[in-house]
Symmetry: C2
Amino acid sequence: MENIDYSSHLFSEAGPEKDVIISSRIRLARNIEDISFPNKAKDSERKEIVEMTKQVIADQEKYQFNLLDLYEISDIDREILLEKHLISRDHAKRRVGKALFLNNKQDISIMVNEEDHFRIQVLSPGMDLDKLWKKANEIDDLLEENLDFAFSEKWGYLTACPTNVGTGLRASIMCHLPALNLTNRIDKVMGAISQLGLAVRGMYGEGSNPAGNIYQISNQITLGHSEEDIIDNLKSVNQQIVEQERKARQIMLNNEIDNLKDAIKRSFGVLKYAYTISSKEALQLLSDVKLGIDLGIINDLSADLISELLILIRPAHLKISEGRDLTNKELNIKRAEMIQEKI
Amino acid sequence: MENIDYSSHLFSEAGPEKDVIISSRIRLARNIEDISFPNKAKDSERKEIVEMTKQVIADQEKYQFNLLDLYEISDIDREILLEKHLISRDHAKRRVGKALFLNNKQDISIMVNEEDHFRIQVLSPGMDLDKLWKKANEIDDLLEENLDFAFSEKWGYLTACPTNVGTGLRASIMCHLPALNLTNRIDKVMGAISQLGLAVRGMYGEGSNPAGNIYQISNQITLGHSEEDIIDNLKSVNQQIVEQERKARQIMLNNEIDNLKDAIKRSFGVLKYAYTISSKEALQLLSDVKLGIDLGIINDLSADLISELLILIRPAHLKISEGRDLTNKELNIKRAEMIQEKI
């Protein structure tokens, strides 16, 4: 088994439309024909699938995948992978024959034996769905050349859950929408998005006002449309969200510049000096500061650092950084330290 | 007429017990025999008193008094003197024959024709009543050698208001009592002080919780006790207040260190980064930061600077610094700038 590179952070680089879009992601659900879906499969079958995958991709110089055995890794490593959005809550549960293949850059991963045999995931900072789709396709082709995927001429790719049947594709964008929230336009915009067949959820906490003003928007329909159609639909909705958010920011700049400047600078001051910061407060303060950076109110600080901090301030990352387990109280103190070290 | 030295700030130096006592002050009320009190005197009489005073003290090399004619100075200079606590609200009202003699260091002043013909005032950072009493006495002697003071064998010095008859002495200390406030002990302590014949009021705003946790404590009784007794009484009460406040701080350090650290550092962050700060908020934030400095939670910052800022953030000082009149909104922005320039 190989180790996780804790220091690698995808968000240390910029991406397109990064003033609003934090990251984009594509995942494909695939299964091997004639082997039960992971929940029904025997331990030996799941182990075999991991082994088969290893044979196919282990010596691919291009990707340099590391294999992480989800049965063997420590609890803290499990949490780290969760916080990095590299595995799902379900995949974090300890079970024989669950694995993650992860490339060095940590932008391509394959969950093996989560709900489906394969969940191919590609991730990028900013808005980059076309490039992601190309990458995901390559991994898909690589596996499909060597393995028999469960596929029906009528339905497309077969998956454990009917909602994924067809393309097995879920494309999503993570967007930062503080101005839509502050100007009370978010509900209207999100309502419109839902009617376009897309799902909206908070990245941290559900509800109409998730912590940190971060929303994840993804396709719900996987059947009856081509992958390109699904991605194009999300792209066009994304474009509207980006425009609406930028418009709301401009309105605030025009009408509320003093209040906005004051609120953002105060958040920056608290972030820079508070002795203890809860996770929820940190997300709100980082959201304010990111808005400040994107609007040019705060300079000498990169928005990418804020995206990086969204991960670094989470409990497992703080514990790894401290080198020991931490109580909740200690976590809040360590979180403030971590932020102040970085900004 | 001479000009005010705007840049001179008494509080740029430290004083005894400065962790609790911001400043101490002594004033003596005196009147010239056979001339009506200022409110009843003719313009020519008041002018004559100013002239007589000038004759006595103008060539005193030791003090180097400047004469400020309160009829002639600009409104903004009037406000500056008020904010420096060098004249009273009453003395700021424009009227022929009102003057202020002020030494270069701005720690000795004589209001001429306020309520009484003379109000000799001496001021010092920290707790220094004995030294102040010596200084006030010297000025008093200097005037009395050359002028006939209204004095009755039975009552002592005669004054316009009966509450000042006798010694004409008011001694006061300005203390910073954040921990007594935060631990809800302030009312008890202030109640006890009132019963000892001392008056308590907020330095900025009245009531039991004045802005900035700054309280002014002074003697009420001027008659039937010697000056030394009055001062000794205030000194002994002062000692108790200092001890009580220090005890309350120690209790907070023992029981609430994390909350205290957090609150103080947050206030520091806001003070350092807010875009706009009202006068009232500034006093509270400066109070928090001063407590932080005195407790060693904030380093690399002097408590004297905080005392200086208490004056510098007031409207007239901000206007002078900006070189023009400012609206309320502009004042709040300028106040934040001024603080951030200094800390």
